[in-house]
Symmetry: C2
Subunit: 147 residues, 2 copies
């Protein structure tokens, strides 16, 4: 049956961030729907943000388009253009290489839920606010040193 | 600003279906969000189904994963496993090559809204209920004749 049974899919708050940048996403609970439902051409993450949690550190990708749609609750989209409230049905696109660091932050007192769509992660990712780069293979500092 | 302004994106009920199969989707109103917002790696269609309208003829793709999420209203997912109500927040995956013809039908009295995600269309599509095949380049009948 094609309808997705969310309860049957593992939910995790794991992160690959170095410890010093991990606290911001401790309240981010992700279900990876693509692999769990047989999709291989793109990924769909179902994400619950607890109050105070961020979707990621603010970042942009050199080689990966991203798209998000809010399903419930409220988050603030923070990017170079400012702060934008995002509520159920609101959507945003982040074209690869746009240089516009972005993330969603749950500043409300309730959980919010969104979907994030992207290709298999590839290429470098930039984090304008913190001393972090994703090389495409590993995290390192902007001077090239490893964590 | 990454947040999508739906009102600024063209909405159309155009279809490439042969005339005899087009009536079912006359009340399907699509906005293609990917090209309009700078995404090229995958497509996202914002779809409003008027009462009585279907998302497509029932079909499956040989070479194209599909994913849908309901944003508002109610539709019935019709596939080989039967009929499944789909409401806001409900999601479904259609892995390429699964052979399971599917579509959404709005049998309610109100509009419903969903998003459909897929790669750039490619490969053959099969329509189990009607005399139609998409070759990857054109529609034709199952005996190979053209419309």
């Amino acid at each position: 049956m094609p309808k997705i049974d969310l309860a049957a899919i593992e939910q995790t708050n794991r992160t690959g961030y170095p410890a010093e940048f991990a606290e911001a996403v401790a309240g981010r609970w992700v279900r990876k729907l693509g692999p769990a439902t047989g999709l291989s051409e793109f990924g769909v993450s179902h994400v619950v943000l607890n109050p105070g949690a961020a979707s990621s550190q603010r970042h942009w990708h050199e080689e990966e388009d991203e798209f998000v749609v809010m399903l419930s609750g409220e988050a603030v989209l923070v990017d170079d253009s400012g702060r934008t409230p995002m509520r159920a049905g609101d959507m945003a696109s982040f074209p690869r290489g746009d240089g516009n660091g972005h993330h969603l932050v749950n500043e409300s007192g309730e959980d919010c839920v969104f979907l994030a769509v992207g290709r298999v992660p590839q290429g470098r990712a930039h984090y304008p606010d913190i001393d972090l780069i994703w090389s495409g293979e590993a995290y390192h500092r902007k001077d090239g040193s490893r964590f």
